[in-house]
Symmetry: C2
Subunit: 288 residues, 2 copies
């Protein structure tokens, strides 16, 4: 691993591209390898065992890139799998999106003794209580309101935007109990949600801080690389952005630039069975 | 294979349970084995190669049940994979949901020379043109209007019903171009959609026939078994209903009775890696 090694960003599909975009903006010279598990997405409705197995396979597959850091750019995967990933790959540097997001939300809550912090996320992320724990560690007296918002990912993946009436109605429904409880901070606990940030701000008003974990996650990555002396020392001519996906549908290419804010080359297709073979090969090596 | 062998019903998740329910109603004495690929759902946004691989693995896994018939109770899987499944398993009797649905829609269109037939389905089903082909074979002069409705599956899986304002607005949006073109028939091209049938009927009025492929698919299964002399000759005391899923989240058990109309035992959990191992073992046997 050198300063020229890539940063690997892993997500169930497209959402993690908002994190990759923030990393590109904070660390413009880095090589980035993005992996979207589009054949098996979404992760947000699935169990811890399933999601952990999927992400372990992906890391096993991407090890050959010798990443200097791996970002789990999916809230569900961070919530359900991060500790077991660190245990499984003790030699790799791995971080997620939940701790940086919770830190930013706790800071945004300011001086209030009992701030009200709302978190919206997928069903699996909410069920894991990972945000609750991460927020409690920093603001033990906060009121924490958790709300799963399962329609938002499909709404965004369908290409609908904040002017669509179905989107506005669904978001208003989901936010209503949070508005009634007068939240001070809304934490967007899913990497898709920054695409609707404008709508959340519009509906909640300027007094509520809307926290997007992509930005704070990227800053966390910079801090880690800096501490390890691994920030890229070249200039932007060295940078690259390489994508892998597990499904070969045209969807990724169609939507990627929307999430990313810049154009990328078509992704490399890795069939899910290649991930399992990788895994079987590793088991076989262990057995021999 | 005997008359006592089970009917296997395969779906990406819960939707195929509406087909299983119709089979139970038409053929009350049969043993039914249901497989929901809940770790890798949905299929509707994914590519033909991915979906075909998934379903081949599932059939390979379930072969040991010696099914007398296999129903691909998922429109996307039928549209993308049925011909390759029949080629891969020439000794098994396999049918899908598209041909029965198209036949029922063509009949419902009645005597009109140029009936207008609307089809709503997932993106992958629409993109495959499978319904268009199946309808054209029967009603070459029909106007066929195809519309992908990607939000309906997540809406139904979230547990929302026809009284929910988001559901009503989304359905109204999706149906509007079909209403403007004065459709005679609406074909529900996804096994989830029968759960919203009441809403489609309400919005379209009694002059439009709403065709649910679950019912016609079940009748098609009865016809096939009868022709093969394989209808179960016992009584209802022999019947059984066994479920397999690939994800161990509580969701399947929570929603299954809603789709099915009766209670079932908790499903057996088959991890996706067991399907790949099965597949690898088969490849290994071929290689030796």
């Amino acid at each position: 691993v050198t300063h020229q090694s890539p940063i690997v960003v892993i997500d169930s599909g497209l959402g993690g591209l908002t994190v990759a975009r923030a990393i590109r903006s904070v660390l413009p010279n880095e090589r980035i390898v993005y992996f979207g598990d589009t054949a098996r997405l979404p992760y947000g409705s699935k169990s811890a065992v399933t999601v952990t197995t999927f992400v372990k396979q992906i890391i096993g597959y991407l090890r050959s890139h010798c990443p200097k850091h791996i970002v789990i750019a999916c809230n569900t995967a961070t919530a359900l799998a991060l500790p077991s990933l660190r245990a499984e790959f003790p030699d790799l540097s791995i971080s997620g999106v939940i701790d940086p997001g919770a830190r930013a939300a706790a800071e945004a809550a300011g001086e209030k003794l009992r701030p009200v912090i709302g978190v919206i996320a997928t069903e699996a992320t909410i069920r894991s209580k990972a945000y609750e724990r991460a927020l409690r560690r920093r603001r033990n007296h906060a009121h924490i309101l958790l709300r799963s918002t399962p329609l938002l990912v499909p709404i965004i993946e369908e290409g609908r935007d904040m002017n669509d009436t179905v989107v506005r109605l669904a978001v208003a429904q989901y936010l209503q109990p949070l508005v009634e409880r007068k939240i001070d901070v809304l934490l967007l606990g899913c990497t898709h949600y920054p695409l609707l940030k404008g709508l959340f701000v519009e509906m909640l008003g300027m007094a509520v801080h809307v926290i997007d974990s992509a930005q704070t996650c990227a800053e966390d990555v910079r801090r880690r690389l800096s501490a390890a002396g691994l920030l890229h020392r070249g200039d932007v001519s060295d940078r690259s952005f390489q994508c892998y996906v597990t499904d070969d549908s045209p969807k990724f290419s169609e939507l990627a630039s929307k999430f990313l804010g810049f154009e990328v080359d078509p992704p490399t297709w890795v069939k899910p069975e290649e991930l399992y073979n990788q895994h079987s090969a590793a088991l076989l090596r262990q057995a021999i």
